[in-house]
Amino acid sequence: MAKVVKIALAGEGGQGVQSIAEILAEAANEEGKNALYIPNFGVEQRGGVSIAFVQISDGAIGAPKFVEADILIPLSPRAVKRTKMHAGKNTVYIYDNSLVQEAEVNDNIVGMQYFDVTPPCPTADEANADLQQDMIAGEPKTCSFTKPGPGVDPADIPTNVKKVIACPANDLAKNELHPRVFNIIILGAIIAATEVLPIDSIKKALETKLGDKFKADPKLRDMNFKALDRGYELIKSAM
């Protein structure tokens, strides 16, 4: 039986968790692997934490969801709290240790059935004028989470896991690159942690997904690829 790599990503609605899960699964599929991606959706979004389950394998893939993740990536302080059940002794745990404030989700989107398909931007009120709200295919799928705050409470980080890696993707995006590519840094980190796919396959998938935008603005390609490489290196050096 072929090994199945199980990846769970969690973040605030609008952090782009579902987008990168989709890119990851599509890249795996293009590589000829079996891949399965399922978002959580519906009123379970109450509280605004969005979880994506991705599984990649050379063989068959079983149930669409799982309990223990091989790679667990909670991207906000609240996501850290909400994903404890997915951490186990074989889990590589990657969290964002940037000192940010999680976005407050307005009550009026609680219970929306399509939270992650067309999310209202939870930080619309805090939007930076120079930031586009979209990152993927022209849809408002991500927005910045650059508001300073206390970050993750270290006491919430599980200790019984295989490895804990802190990745200040938010700070990195804000200071070195651009807040828009926050989730692409995470994507690079996932590849480094799993080596489940070559990094070039992700670049190909990004090219497919954002090709038109890249053509219109080649700088966008550079920025995305740089973010991907940066996330990759960061984790490689930590592992």
């Binding site: 989709e22 293009e30 978002p39 519906g42 009123v43 079983g62 149930a63 669409p64 309990v67 059935q113």
Partner: protein, 357 residues
């Protein structure tokens, strides 16, 4: 990724709802009738985008009752038609379904089960199994395919149209919210160039040919005896059909001490558990009804005849269990239920349940 098409065969990566829309195109469906309800909405979304390119039609109705009955109108004129729904919508669709049973109309329903009872969740469940098999005031004269993978979702949607038009019983594809929303690879294809014959349609009314015999179709009868004859004729047809359409999957049952019985997406968890436990040398097997109606009763009884225990796992409280109890009543295996209404079952949970036995 290259543009998706049905030219030859193409490996694609998409959500289950998109798969259903493509399968309907592959089955050469003429018209879809629908009403929005999560988690099936994207079937309509994709269909309305695809349909004009293939000269097909769509009608958004005022409710699921209307979606069901407009579909019946469509099939009566000899057009291939279907609808899709979930949860409370499935409840409303049952009214049209019993008319289809009585009048032998080739209606096709795609159900993406959500939580129940009532509005419950928009996410996932297997709580519409009994409803889909036996809803309405009748005898459950219908065919229900319970799918587990996107490939099956494609294959069995095409098959459901063929079964409906061959046997003239309403046919269901019983999916769920997980299958609706998840993405995985599958191969889509042009049915006929792959050797899958599409059963031709024929109008029941509204055909214009000289000297035609006018049809008077009804579902109301005056006497008990008259009704009895009609229902029994349908029952005989259904009984004769059942062995031809019944489908199941079994693995490693003959030497198994414990046989998992699941249907739909839960059988994926069972496949994972089976691999894991067999690797540890545990004697486990899996039996999965693909048609939950007609239910593969004899095949299940045979598969578990040597087993000590039968672990029935479902995302409902005893809907599959009852079917299993009927099928293996009198057998020696002990039935152990794992009943999780409205919530997913993972491989890990199934293994844990096995270890408790």
């Amino acid at each position: 990724m290259a543009e998706v098409s049905l030219q030859g065969e193409q490996r694609v990566f998409m959500t289950g709802n998109e798969v259903v829309a493509w399968a309907a195109v592959a089955a050469k469906v003429d018209i879809m009738y629908g009403y929005p309800i999560t988690p099936q909405n994207e079937i309509m979304h994709y269909w309305t985008r695809l349909a004009p390119k293939y000269g097909k039609r769509f009608l958004q109705t005022e409710d699921e009752i209307s979606a069901g009955f407009t579909m019946l109108g469509g099939v009566m004129t000899g057009r291939k038609a279907f609808t899709a729904t979930a949860g409370p919508g499935n409840v409303l669709m049952q009214e049209s379904c019993v008319m289809a049973e009585m009048m032998r109309l080739p209606a096709v329903y795609v159900i993406q089960q959500r939580g129940g009872p009532s509005t419950a969740t928009v996410i996932y469940a297997q709580q519409e199994t009994t409803l889909t098999c036996f809803g309405g005031n009748g005898e459950g004269h219908r065919i229900v395919y319970s799918t587990a993978t996107h490939q099956e979702l494609f294959d069995y949607t095409i098959k459901a149209f063929n079964a409906a038009w061959t046997y003239r019983f309403p046919s269901f594809v019983l999916g769920d919210g997980y299958q609706a929303k998840m993405r995985e690879p599958l191969t889509i294809y042009d049915a006929e160039s792959k050797g899958v014959k599409l059963v031709p349609t024929e109008p029941m009314v509204g055909e214009f040919k000289p000297g035609k015999q006018f049809k008077h179709l009804r579902n109301t009868y005056n006497t008990e005896e008259e009704l009895y004859e009609v229902v029994m004729a349908n029952q005989r047809d259904w009984d004769a059909m059942a062995p031809k359409v019944v489908e199941w999957y079994e693995k490693d049952c003959q030497d198994a001490d414990v046989v998992f019985v699941c249907h739909g997406v839960v059988s994926r968890a069972a496949m994972g558990a089976l691999d894991e436990l067999r690797a540890q040398g545990k004697k486990v097997g899996l039996f999965r009804p693909i048609t939950v109606r007609p239910f593969p009763e004899k095949q299940l009884a045979d598969a578990v005849k040597n087993a000590k225990k039968v672990l029935v796992a479902e995302s409902a409280y005893g809907q599959l269990l009852k079917m299993v109890q009927v099928a293996i009543c009198g057998g020696k295996a002990e039935i152990v239920p794992m009943l999780r209404p409205g919530i997913g079952i993972t491989t890990e949970e199934l293994v844990e349940e096995y270890n408790k036995l």
